[in-house]
């Protein structure tokens, strides 16, 4: 079993190599497309390395763009987690909070994060604030939904056990309902980070002066598909790293639940 596992890694590496290989073969060997519509991987890698330190042609280096996007995405996400998760927990546990908050939440929920941008631009201009608010809104929704659903999954028999041991309502929330919900809450936080990251890139394409989305949008204007692809690679890589880090944290925190069987 263990030995098989170490070989199975190769499959994942093969898929990446295969993908890049086909790309390279089509663009650089067969020259199916001109490099101004779809450049090959070699060109993209060269641009990527150059872009790490060069601010031409869009006014900032790749790390600066990444930094700008990260700051807003993480800020909005953190806000979404800090406000959304407790709200979801309270809505699920306290009937009155649910009745109070639900109608507004149900109205806001179907509005995609991006649909907020026009209003935000009118309200706050194109600085950091409208983007943080937009990112916050798109991260907030999965946090509320997942913590709500998670708390609702608390088993009656666990609450009975709590009651027969004389646990108070707050103790049962903290010791029984929240641990039950923890896997769901963590998933919500992870989904929220994905949503935040998608949202910031899109928001930057619409209204911004910096950031990965802005860089991509500028590159489109001046026909530099190599820069666009660099931006996409950065977005994808950072998104994957986020997801990986949160999965690691999740496995550390959530105990005894995952390995059912």
């Amino acid at each position: 079993m263990k030995k098989q596992k170490s070989y199975i890694w190769i499959l994942s590496i093969l898929s990446v190599i295969g993908f890049v290989g086909i790309w390279w073969f089509c663009c650089d060997v067969l020259k199916l497309t001109s490099s101004s519509t779809l450049p090959g991987p070699v060109t993209v890698i060269k641009t990527f390395i150059a872009k790490l330190s060069s601010s031409a042609p869009d006014g900032a280096t790749l790390p600066q763009h990444i930094g700008s996007s990260l700051k807003i995405a993480l800020g909005g996400w953190a806000l979404g987690v800090v406000i959304g998760t407790p709200l979801g927990i309270c809505m699920a546990w306290y009937k009155k909070v649910d009745l109070f908050a639900r109608p507004i939440f149900d109205l806001l929920r179907p509005v995609p994060g991006l649909a907020w941008i026009p209003l935000m631009i009118i309200l706050f201009g194109i600085g950091i604030t409208p983007k943080i608010v937009t990112v916050f809104l798109s991260a907030f929704v999965p946090c509320v939904l997942n913590s709500y659903t998670g708390i609702r999954q608390t088993k009656d028999v666990h609450l009975w056990v709590g009651q027969t041991f004389g646990a108070s309502d707050t103790q049962m929330l903290l010791n029984i309902a929240i641990p039950t919900a923890l896997p769901m809450i963590m998933t919500g936080i992870r989904v929220a980070l994905g949503a935040a990251w998608t949202c910031i890139v899109a928001a930057e394409m619409l209204a911004s002066t910096k950031g990965l989305g802005y860089m991509i949008q500028q590159a489109r204007g001046i026909y530099r598909p190599d820069i666009i692809i660099c931006g996409m690679i950065a977005i994808g890589a950072i998104g994957a790293v986020f997801s990986g880090i949160l999965s690691l944290i999740e496995n550390k925190i959530v105990k005894g639940v995952r390995r059912d069987g």
Binding site: V157, H158, W160, V161, T164, G256, V257
Partner: protein, 251 residues
């Protein structure tokens, strides 16, 4: 006769459901003595668990009253421990975490409750599994944790609601034997619900045979067989035969 710990007077329970009232318990009057192992035995699904819920305080009785240790039962409390059928352990806590949960809720200092939990973990034979999570244990071991958890809170009364109901036959025999050993070592007042007649006769000081829905007392048997009992002993089989004829055959 020793002191009466549980006193149920004319206990009656009706559930109001969307399909009308369901009469579950009818006029049950019942006393349980200190350190007695009382088995509620009856067919079907209806009534027995509800009786436990009423006695432990999870459900209010519709008529009559339940008193434990002279106090009227109106809500669940730490003086009444319950071992449930299954899946009642907290999966996010270790064996130790589960067993010390009760004392922790009552604010017993860490060192003291750890010692106490350790004692009961060893009593149920799970030494060495303190740091395991429930999903790493077999069904029988999980029920042992459930028993240790209920014991550890040191309640006046222990209710066991078909705790071995979902175990395979071999494990079930083993658990019955072990429960007897645990109980002989640390006597408690136990009310044990089962629909398995062998289990009932093996464990009980006294068996109350219940009828099916609405449940009421059909007959009472005092079991004086010496312990440990033998499932194929002549006396045992005779009792089994006798009680079988009394039980409702209806499902």
């Amino acid at each position: 006769m020793s002191k009466e710990i549980i006193v149920c007077k004319n206990m009656d329970k009706t559930f109001e459901t969307s399909r009308g009232a369901v009469h579950v318990i009818e006029d049950v009057t019942l006393n349980v003595h200190e350190n007695e192992l009382l088995v509620l035995f009856g067919p079907g699904q209806c009534g027995k668990s509800t009786m436990i819920n009423c006695m432990s305080g999870l459900e209010p009785v519709t008529e009559g009253s339940v008193e434990v240790n002279g106090k009227k039962v109106i809500k669940p409390g730490p003086d009444r421990g319950v071992v449930y059928q299954r899946m009642a352990l907290f999966p996010w806590l270790t064996v130790m975490g589960n067993v010390e949960y009760g004392p922790k809720m009552r604010g017993v200092p860490k060192k003291e409750r750890r010692e106490r939990a350790q004692h009961y973990i060893e009593l149920v034979g799970l030494k060495g599994f303190e740091n395991s999570y429930p999903n790493q244990l077999s069904g029988g071991m999980q029920q042992r944790v459930g028993i240790a958890r209920a014991y550890c809170n040191e309640p006046d009364v222990l209710f066991m609601d078909e705790p071995f109901g979902h175990l395979d036959a071999q494990t079930r025999y083993l658990m019955q034997e072990d429960l007897m050993k645990i109980w002989e070592k640390e006597k408690r007042t136990i009310v044990f619900v089962t629909n398995n007649i062998e289990e009932a006769i093996y464990l009980a000081d006294r068996i109350i045979v219940m009828t099916n829905c609405p449940t009421k007392i059909k007959k009472e048997y005092k079991i004086d067989l010496p312990r440990p009992r033998n499932y194929v002993d002549e006396e045992f089989l005779k009792l089994r035969e006798e009680i079988s004829t009394v039980v409702d055959k209806a499902l």
